[in-house]
């Protein structure tokens, strides 16, 4: 009885928290709308400032350990006929986000693009509407997920984690994420769900769907008391948000396993410290996340089969050498080795030594190593 009561209290607290968040978002949107309404009513051209997302205004914050936007602001004014169209688009998006949030409905980037047509709002293509969505994030400093706008799902999660839904119709309903061997896709309902409890002691983020399936088959979740997440290449923001929550709310360390190339290294870096593209947002990084492989040095150490790096691979290496985050530690060291080798290896390269070689041999060594990183 007491546990039930406790849980009920918890549930109430959680739903209160979710309501609170929704209320804040709606309030903020309303205040933006009211300002523009008043301007129009007073015969003034409405305008607002928006943090500049130009390259020159993206700076690395050492304390936050991520890229942030500098202090430059751009003025978006409806008086300027060149900005009128994007101004209107943004107004519509705020209006649409307001409805989504208000009615607790979810949408995707693509869905937003198509919905615009119903309101006679023109977008040239989806990338234009995606860009306006980033504008809304920049103006409000809130990720689009807060406005119930999600990317098309592609990453997934598996492991002993109990969650409780907060989306309408599922409130209070719980789920254990090890019930379905294909894993659960990380969509709006999962992103907004409350994380209840877990027996896991670590989160393993892995770059590839194939390896994710192998890990589930090999019961890595049980063997190493872990939650396995397939990032599907560069981790989507909802996945990064989830990783951050697992780390902060559940106190789980996060390790990242990628292909042995410069792109893999950067996938790990984005999980750790975010991307320049999302410099306008915080709360998307897991600064304590650890990249455990495949390192360039592993290629030599484990004698992995390799393929030569392409021109663009090499160029990417040089580009990243200029990035402030790659100036020390393993980040710098591995990048240098990649450049020296000019060769790369896939995660699947371990198959050369047996299909389970990666889970039997490599992973345990890396997990052990991670403790000391």
């Amino acid at each position: 009885m007491t546990t039930t009561k406790k849980e009920q209290t918890k549930i109430r607290e959680r739903s209160k928290k979710a309501d609170e968040k929704q209320k804040n978002i709606l309030e903020m949107l309303k205040s933006h709308g009211a300002k523009i309404y008043d301007d129009l009513d007073n015969g003034k051209f409405p305008k607002f400032s928006i943090p500049s997302r130009s390259v020159s205004n993206i700076v690395y914050d050492k304390k936050l350990r991520q890229y942030i936007l500098g202090s430059n602001n751009a003025l978006r004014s409806s008086r300027n006929s060149a900005q009128l169209r994007s101004f209107t688009q943004l107004m519509w998006l705020a209006f649409f986000a307001n409805r989504l949030t208000h009615e607790k409905k979810s949408s995707t980037l693509r869905d937003v693009y198509y919905s615009s047509q119903a309101f006679a709002i023109e977008f040239e293509d989806q990338s234009e509407s995606d860009n306006i969505i980033v504008d809304l994030e920049a103006v409000t400093s809130k990720p689009r997920e807060d406005f119930h706008i999600f990317p098309e799902e592609r990453s997934s999660i598996f492991g002993d984690l109990n969650i409780e839904y907060t989306i309408p119709g599922y409130e209070g309903k719980t789920m254990n994420l090890s019930n379905h061997p294909d894993g659960y896709s990380i969509g709006p309902s999962l992103t907004t769900a409350e994380l209840v409890d877990t027996s896991a002691e670590i989160v393993i983020a892995i770059e590839k769907g194939g390896l994710f399936t192998r890990f589930v088959e090999e019961q890595i979740d049980k063997k190493f008391k872990s939650i396995i997440i397939n990032t599907g290449g560069q981790a989507p923001r909802s996945t990064r948000t989830l990783l951050k929550r697992l780390h902060e709310e559940m106190g789980l360390p996060v390790i990242v396993l990628t292909d042995g190339d410069v792109y893999g290294e950067h996938i790990a870096m984005v999980i750790k410290s975010g991307s320049a593209n999302a410099a306008h947002l915080r709360e998307l990084t897991v600064p304590d996340a650890k990249w455990v492989g495949v390192w360039a040095t592993d290629i030599e150490k484990y004698k992995l089969p390799t393929i030569p790096m392409t021109e663009s691979d090499i160029k990417r290496c040089y580009d990243l050498q200029k990035d402030p985050r790659y100036q020390d530690g393993i980040w710098k060291k591995e990048l240098d080795v990649f450049l020296r080798l000019k060769r790369k290896a896939e995660l699947e390269a371990f198959s050369k030594y047996g299909l389970t070689n990666i889970t039997d041999k490599y992973l345990p060594q890396k997990l052990e190593l991670a403790k000391s990183l």
């Binding site: 949107l29 309303k30 933006h32 709308g33 009211a34 523009i36 309404y37 008043d38 129009l40 009513d41 015969g43 003034k44 051209f45 409405p46 409806s78 006929s81 009128l84 169209r85 101004f87 209107t88 107004m91 519509w92 705020a94 209006f95 307001n98 409805r99 309101f119 006679a120 709002i121």
Partner: protein
């Protein structure tokens, strides 16, 4: 020298033109009708221009038998309010084909009526009808002539001559010629229309064979200043021209006409009296010192001819053959060429030989060319390796060529005098363009005088955009010495310059509604063909055209960008009208309000602003 003169007279100019009429634009009934119209209208306008009269020109073309199919005979009549021609000159002016004896230079549409005579000749060849000339030079009596041409002799045959009382000066010329109006009509109407654009001070009417009337009243009340007659520039001269000038300078006596005889009589104090040959000679001896050179030459001639005034009146001097000491003349009485011996011992012989041997080189240069002073003349003689006092009449053929070459090569002559040019002027040109095309934008320019090969020229240009102008431009209206050029535009220098222009650079795109008017004024337009329809691409002319067009194009570009701004302002206004209501709609729900904000004020404000830009554009335009 004498041999040259003989060559001139061997073939009658009428005969020459008769066999070469294609050259003058009389190749077929269509072209001939058009050319005839041009020649008479241009003569009428030239005549008025020269006397500073605002021209009223009436052109009528009537089919002799309207129901017949083309080509068929037409009666072409051109009537003007010009000075008319004195009765005694009419048969000569309309009944002979003159060859160029005028060395004075000035800008005129035609060369001394040559084309008009060609038209008369063509009419006579095709219909065997005489030209009908009605002229009043005093505004009281009108002389009416019907004249045929004796082609072989190049002499007029007067068919009929009557007079009547009138109240106005003016000339009317009427010819009957074979033509094809159904084919030439378009060009003739275009010609009349375009002529009225470049002659805004003229009223031109046209009654066509189908009974249609085209009227182009004058819309400029002031006639541009007439050109002055000037002497030729040494760079603009060739061997043939020098020959003729020498002939003129040494042999100034062939026209012993009524007026000349009258003058001699008067100078001798014999106006009323009729004296015998010897009595006249005695009188002349006594008065010799007071006589002018011209009169002296006539007396000298009379001394060898042994004729009194009455006899002198019936002959025409043909040649003075110094080598053989013979004087040739044409006797009108029995219509044959005769000659008399000249006695070299006679005191009059030297008078004639001096005349024939002509002036010294320096005198020839300073007297017969423009802008050559004695110093330059002597400098030139040195340059050309001639003695300054060299008599022009004694030049050999080789020396003539040497002189001609040196005249071309000598660089120290002054630039050609442009006072002989009569451009229309920027203001009348602009007025004309505005009236004809009612455009949104007009710009005109008159370039400073320039010269090619010793001939001065001035370029005038205009450009207009929008308004009543049809799209698909630039449409080019070409003029030369106030004549519209309608044929053969493909090979014309103006077209070349226009086509070379990258209009995109001047913000003119697509198939724009715009026109270009170009007017080349010169004492000699370098036509490519004798038909006077396209101008050759002389480098100097091309350059001036280019500069003129560039100047205008820049103005057009400025206008176009302003026009673009106005269009932009309109577009902007439309943008606000489209987007502001949407912004209002969305922010109303976002702000949780029921009623939409009053954004109408903003739209109105915006409309006012774009209207302001539109008005600024208007003001600039005016």
């Amino acid at each position: 020298m004498s041999s040259i003169k003989e060559k001139f007279n061997q073939i009658s100019p009428s005969e020459f033109f008769y066999s070469n009429r294609d050259l003058a634009g009389f190749s077929n009934p269509t072209r001939s009708l058009y050319t005839a119209v041009r020649e008479f209208v241009e003569n009428a306008l030239d005549a008025c221009d020269q006397k500073g009269i605002l021209p009223d020109v009436h052109l009528t073309i009537k089919a002799v038998e309207p129901e017949k199919s083309d080509p068929k005979p037409y009666i072409l009549t051109v009537k003007d309010n010009g000075p008319g021609i004195d009765a005694e000159h009419i048969p000569l002016a309309f009944g002979t084909v003159l060859y160029g004896s005028k060395f004075g230079l000035k800008q005129a549409r035609g060369m001394f009526g040559l084309g008009a005579t060609m038209a008369i000749l063509y009419g006579q060849i095709t219909t065997n009808k005489p030209v009908v000339v009605k002229s009043s030079s005093d505004g009281a009596i009108q002389n009416q002539f019907e004249i045929l041409l004796d082609i072989q002799k190049n002499k007029p045959v007067i068919v009929k001559h009557t007079t009547k009382e009138v109240s106005k000066k003016g000339l009317s010329v009427s010819i009957c010629l074979e033509g094809d109006y159904s084919k030439a009509g378009n060009k003739i109407r275009d010609y009349v229309y375009e002529t009225s654009l470049i002659t805004p001070y003229a009223s031109i009417t046209f009654d066509d064979p189908k009974g249609q009337k085209f009227s182009h009243p004058r819309f400029v009340k002031e006639i541009p200043p007439p050109p002055t007659i000037i002497r030729p520039h040494p760079h603009g001269i060739d061997v043939e021209r020098i020959r003729r000038m020498i002939v003129e300078s040494q042999f100034e006596i062939p026209t012993i006409d009524d007026a000349m005889i009258e003058k001699v009589r008067k100078d001798l104090g014999l106006s009323k009296k009729s004296l015998s040959f010897t009595a006249i000679m005695d009188k002349a001896k006594k008065k010799w010192k007071t006589l002018s050179r011209q009169v002296r030459v006539v007396i000298a001639l009379m001394s060898f001819l042994k004729m009194d005034f009455e006899k002198l009146n019936k002959i025409k001097i043909e040649d003075l053959d110094i080598d053989n000491k013979k004087l040739f003349y044409w006797d009108f009485g029995d219509s044959q060429s005769k000659s008399v011996e000249m006695d070299p011992e006679s005191q009059y012989y030297k008078q004639l030989t001096n005349t024939v041997q002509g002036e010294p080189l320096t005198t020839f240069l300073t007297k017969r060319f423009q802008r050559i002073g004695p110093t330059t003349a002597i400098k030139f003689a040195e340059f050309a390796k001639f003695k300054p006092e060299k008599r022009m009449g004694t030049l050999t053929n080789q020396e003539l060529v040497q002189l001609s070459d040196s005249l071309q090569k000598f660089d120290d002559f002054m630039a050609p005098d442009s006072s002989c040019l009569a451009p229309l002027g920027e203001e009348p040109l602009e007025k004309g363009i505005k009236k004809f095309f009612n455009p949104d934008f007009t710009a005109v320019v008159q370039r400073p005088p320039s010269a090619y090969s010793g001939f001065p020229f001035i370029i005038e240009m205009g450009i207009a955009y929008g308004g009543d102008i049809k799209s698909g431009g630039p449409h080019v209206y070409r003029y030369a010495n106030r004549i519209p050029l309608l044929y053969d535009e493909g090979s014309d220098v103006v077209l070349k310059v226009v086509n070379d222009t990258d209009w995109g650079r001047y913000k003119v795109k697509g198939e724009p509604p715009f026109i270009i008017v170009s007017h080349i004024c010169s004492t000699r337009i370098p036509y490519k063909t004798a038909g006077k329809e396209n101008v050759a691409d002389r480098q100097e002319i091309e350059r001036e055209l280019r500069l003129g067009l560039q100047f205008l194009s820049r103005k057009l570009a400025a206008y176009m960008s302003k026009r673009g701004q106005a269009d932009m302002a309109k577009k902007r206004a439309n943008l606000y009208a489209k987007y502001l209501p949407q912004i209002a709609e969305f922010c109303t729900e976002l702000a949780g309000k029921k009623k939409e904000p009053n954004y109408k004020k903003l739209l109105e404000e915006n409309a006012i602003e774009s209207k302001k830009i539109e008005e600024e554009k208007e003001i600039d335009n005016n």
